[in-house]
């Protein structure tokens, strides 16, 4: 994506992660932050030694590596004018501000299209650019609720659960990146930009999988349940997270041959050869009132005797989908990820040397690269305003004093 210029006018996750995806592949991203406070994620953390510092927030550092950072007060006329100058010179604008705010500032798509008809503007908002909830306020937990994800996550007997952290924002960012790239591709032939309107609620609601199908095809409401196979809580196939001697494993058995291998893995216990456990798949179609023997307690008891590694490698050697439930340390030290070079170390002038996840794919000709640390607040003001937009240095000083940058 070398040569592609992106202007980012966004806070937290949904905008910044979208442009991060582009910057990993070589696009130049100029991140616009308000002077003094900067992106809200600078105050979220985690922080080294738990000491809050706007230049050392883990979330900010992760989402904004590779980018150029400028400050701009878009509540001032001068600030807005500078913003529009930048918008004129870029291919893509990604923003996640409330629609009304953008309209009031004269930064909505119809306005910006006037100054740059090739601009691809991607707007990411909780509920999209139209509709009765358009101006509603929503944080990540609210959108996971609005998108139907919370309802089906957790225990049926307890409250709906959040998928941490900021997952609504991440999914929206991913969809936004897809929409943006498609629009960029279309522009190659058409020469025209367009507006890409992303509703975070819709992004979450579209990855619910069978929740939608349950209602659409059977008129049923899928409840919170942790095993795919049975809605009444009876384990038909082992498809759950199980505690073992030194941690947890996830087992996801879908096919009869995997079941056979699993029985072999756990030492062919007597109960496994009981005919009533034989073709579990038939139980998907069982009739009302038919008694279903519950595998759950039997499996739980047996697995406690094994370590995570025994089950993981022993299971995988038998082609059973079993994996450890990795915590952060587990993931960082996982040999498969290490071998693939998934994590990279970057030096940040304030926060020091830290380890970051890279990109989750390998492109053979245009590999991803994560080298530059996240920008300090206003770090590239001179580069952008002076060197590129040609404002003399004295102007910058005056603008800074006036709170414009």
């Amino acid at each position: 994506m070398a040569g592609v210029k992106v202007l980012e006018y966004a806070d937290l996750i949904s905008g910044p992660y979208c442009t991060k995806l582009l910057s990993n592949l070589g696009a130049e991203v100029i991140k616009v932050e308000q002077p003094k406070a900067g992106d809200y994620s600078r105050s979220v953390g985690p922080f080294p030694n738990d000491v809050p510092d706007p230049e050392k927030s883990g979330l900010f550092l992760y989402l904004n590596a590779n980018k150029l950072g400028i400050t701009l007060n878009t509540k001032t006329e001068t600030g807005l004018a500078l913003f529009k100058e930048l918008a004129k010179s870029v291919d893509i604008l990604v923003e996640n501000h409330p629609p009304q705010e953008m309209e009031d500032a004269g930064l909505d798509y119809p306005s910006l299209r006037q100054i740059n008809h090739r601009l691809i503007m991607t707007s990411i908002t909780p509920f999209g650019q139209n509709g009765p909830y358009r101006d509603y306020k929503a944080y990540d937990i609210n959108i996971q609720a609005a998108g139907g994800l919370a309802y089906v996550t957790g225990d049926a007997k307890r409250e709906p659960l959040l998928t941490p952290w900021g997952q609504a924002g991440y999914q929206a960012a991913l969809n936004a990146a897809i929409g943006t790239l498609s629009a960029l591709y279309w522009r190659e032939a058409s020469g025209l930009g367009q507006h890409v309107d992303i509703s975070v609620q819709e992004c979450i609601a579209s990855i619910l999988g069978d929740v939608i199908s349950f209602y659409s095809y059977m008129g049923m409401v899928k409840p919170r349940c942790t095993t795919l196979s049975d809605l009444s809580g009876v384990t038909i196939w082992p498809m759950d997270i199980y505690e073992c001697k030194d941690g947890y494993v996830d087992i996801c058995i879908l096919e009869p041959h995997q079941w056979q291998s699993f029985v072999d893995l756990i030492g062919n216990p007597g109960w496994a050869s009981d005919p009533k456990f034989e073709d579990r798949r038939l139980l998907f179609e069982r009739t009302e009132g038919q008694e279903v023997p519950d595998l759950g307690p039997l499996i739980k008891e047996i697995l406690k005797k094994y370590t995570v590694d025994e089950l993981f490698h022993g299971g995988q050697q038998r082609r059973i989908p079993i994996t450890p439930v990795n915590d952060a340390q587990g993931v960082l030290h996982f040999p498969q990820l290490k071998e693939r070079g998934f994590f990279v170390e970057i030096d940040h002038p304030e926060a020091g040397r830290l380890t970051y996840p890279g990109a989750p794919f390998k492109l053979s000709e245009t590999p991803w690269s994560l080298e530059r640390p996240a920008p300090l607040l206003g770090q590239h003001n001179k580069e952008i305003f002076s060197n590129r937009l040609r404002y003399p240095k004295m102007e910058l000083v005056k603008m800074a004093e006036a709170g414009i940058i």
Partner: protein
């Protein structure tokens, strides 16, 4: 001028199950012509399942989930154990821009359709290989499905109530991985448009999940701490939870970030005496005492429906939104106005509501335009029209079981 962003792009789609097909479906929603290369002998396993505890299974052309994940696509059938079928598959690749597959690493090579071979067939081909843990590395032959990606990638460990075991993530992990695949393919398409160069994409579903919990790794590398499950708690915000409402199993989410929002919430609740308690007098204290805070707020929300709470609180600028069930997603007036769901007529299953495209393009609207294809429905079109095989040859190939 093309009406859709990816009009003119053709995808030779070998994917199956969820993580592959959803990726190519996203491309199809944006106008790409997606040709699913299937086989009667080993159909896509999402064709072979009914929904759990649902109505009796009706056959490979009546599977609901298959329909939902394969909208807009075409289907041809080839028995890939036959050399002639492999040749035909190559001919489909020759007229395609993208090849997508999510078999276990090594399977495409064994079939004679690995990247190096396909590059000879079409030098600028873009090939996506999506797998559980990637195409390289010590565990590349390991098997996995959606829940295992989330477990390995660190997301499952973080999800759950503070006092209970991690919650297995379900199909959404597959679809997150699929979205990442679609992104990677588009990046490759853009690069090809600039340079004429294709490439091979090696995607690990586990990694696609790990990147979504980046902060957890930062916490560990900064402070040596391993983050764990915190239910619905936020790092800073309180109240921040899902609260019970009037009807059984109805819930509303409420999150407060500023002093202003807190005051507005208190006022809307009628300024009950407890809000003046010094336990809740500032954001820090509210966070410390959030268990009690949540209980007290729940005693207010329980008197209303989720929508009532949303309307009361949104009016004063407080973030409150119901926790919608699958049914409520289809009834929500906002989603209706946005056109979230679309009705699609399927020849065997009938009229069904499916999820429409998750982007609104101002110039090139993406949308669902057809049902998930019947097995082999487009054999005639692809072999006859696109590849130009004469009718008698097609008939012979069918009789021989090559087209099957």
């Amino acid at each position: 001028m093309a009406r859709l962003p990816l009009q003119g792009i053709r995808v030779a789609d070998f994917t199956w199950a969820w993580a592959g097909p959803y990726a190519t479906m996203l491309l199809g929603l944006m106008g790409a012509e997606v040709i699913k290369i299937e086989s009667t002998k080993r159909p896509d396993h999402s064709r072979m399942r009914s929904l759990a505890a649902g109505p009796t299974f009706g056959g490979p052309n009546q599977a609901p989930i298959f329909n939902d994940l394969n909208l807009n696509k075409m289907s041809i059938t080839l028995d890939m154990t036959r050399p002639k079928a492999v040749e035909l598959a190559k001919r489909v690749v020759r007229i395609s821009d993208v090849v997508a597959e999510n078999f276990r690493p090594g399977v495409m090579d064994k079939l004679g359709l690995g990247y190096e071979v396909l590059k000879e067939v079409k030098p600028d081909i873009i090939m996506l290989s999506s797998s559980a843990v990637g195409g390289t590395g010590p565990n590349r032959h390991y098997v996995g499905y959606a829940p295992t990606f989330a477990a390995l990638g660190g997301m499952a460990h973080l999800t759950g109530y503070p006092d209970s075991a991690p919650i297995p993530m379900m199909g959404s992990s597959d679809l997150r991985s699929a979205a990442t695949s679609a992104f990677a393919i588009l990046a490759a398409l853009y690069h090809r448009a600039q340079t004429g160069e294709g490439q091979h994409i090696d995607l690990s579903s586990t990694e696609t999940i790990a990147v979504l919990v980046g902060e957890a790794f930062l916490e560990y590398t900064m402070n040596g701490r391993i983050p764990t499950r915190e239910g619905n708690r936020d790092r800073i915000m309180a109240p921040h939870n899902v609260y019970p409402c009037q009807e059984e199993n109805s819930w509303v989410s409420i999150a407060v970030a500023t002093e202003e929002e807190w005051q507005a919430l208190c006022h809307t609740m009628g300024d009950p005496a407890w809000v003046k308690d010094e336990k809740f007098s500032d954001a820090y204290r509210r966070w410390q005492n959030q268990e009690e805070l949540d209980r007290l707020i729940g005693e207010w929300t329980i008197n209303y429906s989720p929508t009532e709470v949303m309307e009361k609180l949104q009016k004063v600028g407080v973030a409150a939104v119901p926790s919608f069930s699958g049914l409520e997603l289809f009834q929500d007036p906002h989603l209706k106005e946005r056109g979230f769901a679309k009705e699609v007529q399927h020849p065997a299953i009938g009229k069904r509501l499916v999820v429409n495209a998750p982007w609104k393009f101002s110039a090139t609207p993406a949308e669902v335009s057809r049902y998930g294809p019947l097995l082999g429905e487009h054999n005639q079109y692809v072999f006859g029209e696109l590849l130009g095989l004469p009718q008698d040859e097609i008939q012979r190939l069918v009789a021989e079981g090559v087209i099957n």
